[in-house]
């Protein structure tokens, strides 16, 4: 009995701690993100080769034949057969909607991954891309596609393996009794270069143009043609990685105080870093395995969130979980509809928009590097 009440107050006080992290700026950010993602998602499902009005799109989105159909949801989540649906509903729910949802997952993964890497390395310039994780994962994904195409269902796993190898390489090169932001970035650039060259080399081993084209889409990062299958691949790792990241927020906060302080407070710094890096690699690999290498995203999104809510990782990660998806959906709307009927890979959009924005941040901030 006493135990129960203690458990209850414990839960209550924990809920209070987390609720306490929601201040005005964070709530505003989350609400705005949801609104932006919603509007962009609606645009995404409304427009396209098969044209329909916004009203028709709305009706299709809220079609009770899908919303209240167990079979439809079973088909989305478990890949069983889809029930018979009207054409508009089918297009919205089977082609356009999964793309929006996968964009949400990929955006969440990349933002969370970048945020973790930035704390683990205490480096504002860190991201899965800079630390070589993306190019390592990309290489193994390409290897799988080009040489072992029968192993395609295990893509996220291979991507994670490749990402981990690249990250360890970067860390080993940069390690000299400790690492510094600059050395990490430099090591990342070198490993990236090697892995990118290997990726290019692989193109020459591809048998047909189709493989080359899909490989190219991978390398630039594209959500074209993703469906519920990609959703099923990504949803569990995304949730796991995000929850683990949120659970580790206090550890991340302590890492920001520097290795010396963290270890004098009793943290096994290397072990915690290693485990949190594993979470970040899982998140990045998940995004890469369904959407390819989307550059700049994991770097820029945590920055934007940090500018608004500050560097407390409880708030920062919650912000990333909302802002990442919103920006990814918006970027994908741009990728799909801006040059309609032609589509560009979403990685092109994030690169073209994210690069200059990052430069702007660099100019505005006097110091960049260590958090």
């Amino acid at each position: 009995m006493a135990n129960e009440t203690r458990g209850a107050t414990d839960v209550l006080s924990r809920a209070r701690t987390w609720l306490g992290t929601f201040d005005g700026s964070l709530i505003g950010l989350c609400v705005a993100s949801v609104a932006v993602a919603f509007v962009a998602g609606l645009l995404q499902v409304s427009f396209g080769a098969y044209s329909m009005t916004i009203l028709e799109a709305w009706q299709a989105v809220f079609d009770p034949k899908v919303l209240f159909s167990v079979r439809a949801w079973q088909s989305f989540f478990f890949g069983t057969e889809l029930p018979e649906l009207p054409k508009r509903t089918l297009i919205v729910w089977n082609i356009r909607m999964p793309r929006v949802i996968v964009a949400v997952l990929a955006g969440m993964c990349l933002a969370v991954s970048g945020a973790i890497f930035q704390a683990v390395t205490r480096n504002e310039l860190a991201s899965p891309f800079v630390l070589g994780v993306s190019s390592g994962a990309g290489l193994t994904v390409l290897l799988t596609l080009v040489l072992f195409s029968s192993l395609a269902p295990f893509l996220p796993l291979f991507a994670a393996v490749g990402g981990s190898i690249a990250f360890l390489l970067v860390y080993m090169i940069a390690w000299k009794g400790g690492t510094s932001p600059v050395r990490l970035v430099l090591a990342g650039v070198i490993v990236n270069m090697v892995f990118t060259s290997l990726q290019r080399g692989l193109f020459f081993f591809a048998d047909d143009l189709g493989v080359v084209q899909s490989a190219l889409a991978w390398i630039t990062g594209s959500l074209t043609g993703v469906g519920w299958e990609e959703f099923r691949i990504a949803v569990i790792p995304t949730l796991v990685a995000t929850l683990l990241a949120l659970a580790g927020a206090r550890q991340l906060n302590l890492l920001l105080l520097g290795e010396e302080t963290a270890s004098s407070l009793g943290m096994s710094v290397e072990r915690v870093r290693f485990m949190l890096s594993a979470v970040a690699i899982l998140a990045a690999s998940t995004a890469i395995s369904v959407a390819g290498i989307i550059g700049f995203f994991g770097l820029v999104v945590p920055h934007i969130v940090r500018l608004i809510v500050g560097s407390d990782y409880r708030r920062l990660l919650i912000g990333c979980v909302f802002v990442g998806p919103a920006l990814m959906v918006v970027a994908d709307v741009g990728a799909r509809l801006a040059l309609s009927p032609a589509q560009v890979p979403v990685g092109v959009v994030t690169g073209v928009v994210g690069g200059p924005y990052f430069l702007y941040l660099m100019r505005r901030q006097e110091q960049m590097g260590e958090i």
């Binding site: 414990d10 009793g266 500050g310 560097s311």
Partner: protein, 310 residues
């Protein structure tokens, strides 16, 4: 009871013959036994086999010129640097065998340079001091809150608690960091040059915090100080290092002598005894080949022994 007394006596007389002997938990909170410390990448150890005992419930000050190894010794005592040989005993147990969080519940360390994100508030920073007392999924308990309140109160930074650390002056920052280690609620506290780079007001403020801790709790403090006069005024015991070797140890008035200043700090100075402890009036820097003020024959080690013998 009588056993307790004899132990205390033992420490007072046989200063720093170091561990090995029966060290009861209360009387030997922190002992470095013949420790050899070096940094990776260098051949020569910085500290080559020195022993040190922190006097329980008192303030021990480590002094010495730049590069004398005083901060290194402190790092070794705090388990931040693994000794190549010898051992560090915390409450009589080899610190290497203890869990890192268990160590951090008993021993707090304030490093010389602490960095933090600018946007963290003082209160949040102080709460980090509770890290070793909390499990991975534990939420804040009343005990944590009480410890944080006590620490903020003791460090006198209540008026700063909602300020962002990035907006504070160097002295205010140091108070916030001191509050953080105080929130750790440890029996042993190691401070690495807590007053360096602070203005006089904050230097005195930090010294007052240390004095309060000594007078009102039985916390054991080891502090590295740059300013030898300040150290003499603050400490119950002083340990002077040069080139990684302990040259002298004992009561401040025994350690701070003109001869020691010449040998260890390479300065010529006048030392006068005042009610506030020894007062140093530096005259000039000594250079190699200078005539020694006192008799020049005895080596530094012998002199150290003389000092201890006194």
């Amino acid at each position: 009871m009588s056993q307790d007394n004899s132990n205390t006596d033992g420490i007072a007389t046989a200063n720093d013959t170091a561990a090995g002997s029966q060290s009861s938990r209360r009387d030997r909170p922190l002992v470095g036994d013949d420790v050899v410390l070096s940094y990776s990448g260098t051949d020569e150890p910085v500290i080559d086999g020195e022993s040190i005992t922190a006097e329980p419930g008192a303030v021990t000050a480590l002094v010495g010129p730049n590069g004398s190894g005083k901060s290194t010794l402190l790092k070794g005592l705090a388990n931040q640097l693994r000794p190549e040989a010898g051992s560090v005993l915390l409450d009589g147990q080899d610190i290497q065998t203890l869990d890192t969080k268990a160590i951090a519940r008993k021993l707090g360390l304030l490093s010389q340079e602490s960095t933090s994100p600018n946007s963290i508030t003082v209160e949040d920073l102080v709460y980090h001091g509770r890290y070793p007392h909390r499990g991975f999924f534990d939420s804040v308990t009343e005990e944590d809150e009480a410890a944080v309140e006590r620490a903020i109160d003791l460090a006198g930074c209540g008026h700063l608690r909602d300020r962002e650390v990035g907006s504070l002056s160097g002295g205010q920052k140091q108070l916030a960091w001191i509050a953080m280690v105080l929130a750790q609620d440890t029996d042993v506290l190691l401070l690495d040059e807590p007053t360096t780079f602070l203005d006089l007001h904050h230097q005195l403020e930090v010294m007052e915090i240390i004095e309060t801790l000594r007078d009102e709790s039985d916390i054991t403090i080891v502090v590295v100080l740059h300013d030898i006069e300040q150290a003499a005024r603050l400490a119950d015991r002083m340990v002077a290092l040069k080139d990684g070797e302990i040259q002298a140890r004992g009561q401040p008035e025994d350690v701070v002598t003109e001869r020691l200043l010449a040998d260890v700090f390479e300065i010529e100075a006048e030392v006068s005894v005042t009610p506030h402890g020894p007062r140093i009036n530096p005259i000039r820097a000594r250079h190699d080949g200078d005539e020694h003020a006192a008799d020049d024959d005895s080596t530094g080690a012998e002199r150290a022994e003389e000092v201890v013998a006194e």
